[in-house]
């Protein structure tokens, strides 16, 4: 129920991987300040962005992908800041399926032994995860902001870890 995994220090895992697998971390944006439109993150959402940066603090994050919307950019911002790189926005041209394909393609181009962070929306993260090999990906519920999917692209095999990070989502049960 409570999954406070801070700090995750994913680097330890990467160092231990003999095959120098690539890691892709997929999350939805943090809590929003308003119900609709291109809204900013709320204070809780900003804290979640910082928790994400902390969780990935030990990993070699070489690429941070988000969408053109502020809430994904802001969620990704702290991780990108700590990694000294810019957030790359991937647009929605051609619809959600085309977006998922473009995000997955961009992620796959990152180097081995590197970590890619993808910040999406409740209606995109499952598609992206599925495209990258998470056959069981399901969309987060509306109230669910703490889910994290970690994909380890280890040669032909993909290992999928479903976990949580940051504060437990309020009023969202288990």
């Amino acid at each position: 129920m409570i999954h406070r995994l801070i700090p995750l220090a994913l680097a330890a895992a990467l160092i231990a991987l003999p095959t120098q697998a690539q890691t892709v971390v997929i999350v939805r944006h943090g809590e929003k300040a308003g119900p609709s439109g291109d809204v900013d993150l709320s204070a809780a959402g900003q804290a979640r962005g910082e928790a994400l940066a902390q969780a990935l603090g030990g990993a070699k994050v070489s690429l941070v992908l988000a969408t053109p919307l502020k809430r994904t950019q802001q969620t990704a911002g702290a991780t990108a800041r700590d990694a000294g790189i810019a957030v790359v926005a991937v647009g929605f041209d051609g619809g959600d399926a085309a977006h998922a394909q473009r995000v997955a393609q961009a992620a796959r181009k990152a180097g081995r032994a590197e970590t890619v962070l993808i910040v999406g929306h409740s209606n995109t993260v499952a598609d992206i995860a599925r495209t990258l090999g998470d056959t069981r990906a399901v969309a987060p519920r509306d109230c669910e902001y703490d889910r994290m999917t970690v994909l380890v692209l280890d040669g032909a095999a993909t290992r999928v870890i479903h976990t949580r990070y940051g504060a437990q989502s309020e009023g969202c049960g288990t």
């Binding site: 330890a12 895992a13 095959t19 280890d154 999928v160």
Partner: protein, 207 residues
């Protein structure tokens, strides 16, 4: 539950009742038992775990001790630590879950061919609930292999575990397994602890 119902209140309390997720958040990228004990466990797995089957490694870490030459259909890992599971090359997939807070497993009924709990059973505060969930996810007749040594984080082991010796630990696991609906219980002392870490397996079969 009859045998367990005689246990005093607090039998499943831990000295350190802090949040387990926080305790396990630091990656503990190390084995908990020595190479000889691991070798004995791997040999046991080689005999009882069906090649090609779907396995659940409950309370797993960065290593599953499975025989390296055997291919399994799927190895699902559960743990408390994302990095450890991500670093475990034998896993097909994994999930992080605090079983002491949420014992229900998101696994389909009768979907697994075997399950393993390696040196972790002493941390379960709702052992029967968790093992019953494992039993539900196992096909009838499929084995659950519970192994233990004398290694543990003592402050995180439940009180009843701390009060017992090695023989008592085997009996306690048998009581758990019986209460959770397992049958055909077997105890195998794989390593007596003279020349290596001790290792005992208690195995039951799902009904």
């Amino acid at each position: 539950m009859s045998a367990l119902s005689h246990l005093p209140p607090g039998a499943f309390a831990k000295e350190d009742s802090g949040d387990d997720a926080a305790f396990y958040a630091e990656a503990r990228l190390k084995t908990h038992i020595d190479d000889a004990a691991i070798g004995a466990l791997t040999d046991f797995y080689r005999v009882v775990l069906p090649p090609g089957g779907a396995l659940l490694d409950l309370m797993s870490s960065w290593v599953s001790h499975l025989p390296p030459e055997v291919v399994y259909g799927e190895v699902i890992g559960h743990g408390m630590n994302t990095e450890e599971l991500a670093a475990n090359p034998r896993l097909s997939r994994g999930f992080v879950q605090d079983l002491n807070r949420a014992p229900r497993l998101d696994l389909a009924d009768a979907s697994l061919d075997a399950a393993m709990i390696c040196v972790g059973v002493q941390y379960l505060q709702q052992p029967v609930a968790v093992l019953a969930e494992v039993g539900r996810a196992l096909r009838p007749g499929a084995p659950l292999v519970v192994s233990y040594s004398n290694r543990c984080f003592p402050t995180k082991a439940v009180a009843v575990w701390r009060t017992l010796g090695p023989q008592g630990h085997a009996r306690l696991i048998e009581v758990y397994l019986e209460a959770a609906g397992f049958t055909g219980l077997e105890v195998h002392r794989l390593k007596d602890g003279a020349a290596s870490d001790p290792l005992t397996v208690v195995m039951g079969r799902a009904t």
